[in-house]
Amino acid sequence: MALNVRIVTPRKIVFEGVAEGVQAPGELGEFGVLAGHIPLVTTLKPGTVVIHGSPRRTFKVGTGFAEAGPDRVTLLVETCEEIESAALAH
């Protein structure tokens, strides 16, 4: 089962696509979502979001919140910027 991921900021939808899993910085701690997750609403603190898929993508996000369901994850964040994979390698 695939996971539909959306990262939304007030300006635009930054990312929309299918992934295997998502890792996000929850206010109560880092958490991961895979397909089949129970419905969850949680707040996010500024940090890094990793979308596991091909390719693997990393985003730097501001505060916001996440809504997860069995087949989808929506991250609503105030700011979001993709971190270049090259920069990450260093």
Binding site: R6, V8, R11, V41, F65
Partner: protein, 299 residues
């Protein structure tokens, strides 16, 4: 009676005005598209946030929904009014209508102020913050104390502005400096209609949403009211951002409509001036002919 040369000069000047208004119309049309795009792309965010808050307000999070930002004050004494206008003119009645209504709004507020003062309670005070040159100029000539006026609020800065403004509102509201925060802006209905709107943003009101679709039991983390601590300021920011985005889109729409009218008026004017000019020219020719003919007859 205007001479032919006068009419010719006027036609030339109206023509160049028409060129300018026409160009401004084109520019506004392009900017309008960008501004509405920005407003539209903010929508998924707004909808998801509102839906989530409504679910929480509907008691889905378990426990009482209580938060200082949601609680109305018994006696409203201090009001913060934020007026959002544009920096530039030439957009019809866009700013004028809003500012006139703001004036009326302030007067009714001050009316309640006097009444409140009479029954012994402390006077009600309205504090004003403005955005845009037009609002600043408007209040300069009025006995209204403006706390702060910001100009040059371009769309690229909306996010920063909204962030700062919401922080100030939340701080002031919690500290008891303001009992109510109101934002006055032009709501963007469509390209032809923008309506001056006064929205109370603090205390926030969230109606428990009519749950449509299959109800899902969400797990909330952190639980209940604690999650509101993060979500409510976000919601406030969404409301404010919407006001700015709609003002941005409305400004270009209003300017486009105004410039379209101006262009059309110029076309009409040129038409009637050309008619006058040709009539005058014809009259001059006829007059000359009569002179020649009668001169020939006299011989």
């Amino acid at each position: 009676m205007a001479t032919l040369r006068d009419i010719r000069t006027r036609i030339t000047s109206v023509k160049s005005t028409k060129q300018i208004t026409n160009a401004m119309k084109m520019v506004s049309a392009a900017k309008l598209r960008r501004a509405t795009d920005a407003a539209v792309s903010a929508r998924p965010w707004q909808e998801t946030l509102t839906a989530t808050l409504q679910r929480i307000a509907g008691g889905a999070a378990g426990g009482e929904v209580q938060h200082p930002l949601l609680e109305p004050r018994g006696a409203v004494k201090n009001v913060l009014l934020v007026v959002v206008t544009t920096d530039r003119g030439l957009c019809g009645g866009f700013n004028g209508t809003l500012l006139r209504q703001t004036d009326v709004w302030l007067k009714t507020q001050q009316g309640t102020l006097v009444q409140a003062g009479q029954d012994g309670s402390a006077a009600r005070r309205v504090r004003v913050r403005t955005f845009g040159k037009k609002a600043r100029e408007f209040f300069k000539s009025r006995p209204v104390v403006v706390d702060e006026s910001t100009i040059d609020a371009t769309s690229a800065k909306f996010q920063e502005i909204v962030q700062a403004l919401s922080d100030e509102m939340v701080r002031g509201f919690i500290a008891g400096e303001y009992d109510e925060c109101v934002i006055a802006y032009n709501a963007f209905k469509n390209t032809l209609t923008q309506t001056p709107t006064f929205t109370r943003v603090l205390p926030l009101s969230i109606e428990a949403g009519a749950t449509t679709g299959p109800s899902v039991d969400y797990v909330y983390e952190p639980k209940g009211a604690a999650i509101l601590e993060t979500l409510l300021p976000l919601y406030l920011r969404t409301l404010l951002l919407q006001a700015f985005l709609e003002t941005g889109a409305g400004e270009h729409a209003a300017r486009m409509t105004a410039m379209d009218n101006a262009t059309r008026n110029a076309t009409d004017l040129i038409k009637s001036l050309t008619l006058d000019y040709n009539r005058g020219r014809q009259a001059a020719i006829t007059k000359e002919l009569i002179e020649i003919v009668s001169g020939a007859e006299a011989l």
